[in-house]
Symmetry: C2
Subunit: 249 residues, 2 copies
């Protein structure tokens, strides 16, 4: 690990996957299992060039890199989070393979090239901005609600970036599946893989993983469900394998 | 049971559910688990008036009736199957609650009223007519391939029949989920419930059950998966409960 000056409030966490460290802050959005699941679900071809839209802490960018992506660009609208993610990249000595761009995914034209990326991923805000009160200065709300980007805007950004036959993978809420699939198809990104994520086998899924291929023909592969916890409340063997058998935090 | 003259080739099977009998023929399409699952998945409100599109043997119409539907109309394009289904209705003394119409679901205008039905269901042909050779006189192929009705035509028929806030439930292949959800939404039938059907927990689903509500707003409930067989290869308890604990044929 190189010397990286942590800033006041920074906390250096151990990801327990591939010896990765991650800097987080208690007053900012911290990554959750959703990001870990997406990073392991996406199809990462050897030497892929990838973009993570709304990278936050940068955790997905880090994991895609250790999964074999040659280059990963993490796009993040918050300058505070972008700085945090950039410091995490340095901590892990991955500055040669990951770059963090403080940019608005709604406005990538001129900032990133069109149609050249093998893979685009996103763990976007899940919930539409409804009638309820939301403080636009609330950093956690920005990551959870569609304040800075709607589903359609995330997919439009992915469509702009991904090459023909390239892939776009996303984690989202099952209740929005019809809208997700429709928006993907309208953007010419055909849904090809889908996996439901359940906390237990007899429960409804609380997340869905979806991957589409730009320009592919129709035909969706629905994978076996991912059941996060076993009967004893421990992570299932599939997830534990990522953590080399250790129970993560 | 009333006296019903079975025709040569008719075979009287026991459904083992609610003492229902069903007439089948070895030279025609016979119902499978798909139909049983759909009949139990659909939301049947007390005294519902329902239509089963492509009723075949009539098994779904019979089950909807015993689940509480006041009136069920089974639409069937094949005169041979329509006759068979009508005899099954008589065998079960349900002629007052179920009627079978020998009609083409692509041409229901003038045959059935528009927008009055509480529930429409369909176990349609699953597979598009591809490049392969298909004999249009093959009765089993007609039930499996979209020779007599495509997905879009089935949904259009459902849209014609179902009342505002009424429901349409279908069983289909998981690989066609994106197309199914899109066609439903385009018809104004919003997907509201979805359930994957797996033969075993670690396998991909081989069927999907979907229910939409005409005029509803977006928001899909994805139910826990239905795992058809337990570890010993027996039907799961949920399915066995329909059969009062007996292993069906």
């Amino acid at each position: 690990m190189t010397d990286v000056a942590l800033e006041p409030g920074d906390r250096l966490d151990d990801l327990i996957i591939n010896d990765l460290k991650i800097i987080q802050r208690d007053d900012q959005f911290r990554f959750s299992l959703d990001a870990i699941l997406l990073a392991h679900f996406a199809t990462v071809r050897p030497n892929a060039v990838a973009v993570d839209l709304g990278t936050g802490t940068g955790v997905i960018a880090l994991l895609l890199s250790t999964r074999g992506a040659a280059q990963v660009i993490g796009v993040e609208i918050s300058p505070v989070m972008a700085g945090l993610a950039a410091r995490s990249v340095k901590v892990n000595q991955l500055a040669g393979r990951i770059s963090i761009q403080n940019a608005d995914l709604r406005n990538l034209r001129g900032q990133l090239p069109a149609g050249v990326f093998d893979l685009v991923v996103s763990n976007p805000p899940y919930r539409p901005v409804g009638g309820g009160f939301l403080n636009p200065n609330d950093k956690v709300a920005m990551a959870r609600h569609e304040i800075t980007a709607t589903l359609a805007e995330v997919v439009a950004a992915a469509r702009y970036l991904v090459k023909y036959r390239g892939r776009f993978a996303m984690v989202h809420l099952p209740e929005r599946i019809p809208e997700i699939l429709e928006v993907l198809r309208q953007a010419g990104i055909e849904p090809k893989r889908l996996r439901m994520v359940h906390s237990a086998i007899h429960k409804k899924p609380n997340m869905v993983l979806v991957e589409g291929v730009r320009g592919a023909r129709a035909g969706l592969e629905v994978l076996p469900p991912l059941i996060v916890y076993d009967d004893k409340g421990n992570y299932c063997s599939e997830i534990l394998a990522w953590y080399q058998g250790e129970q993560p935090l």
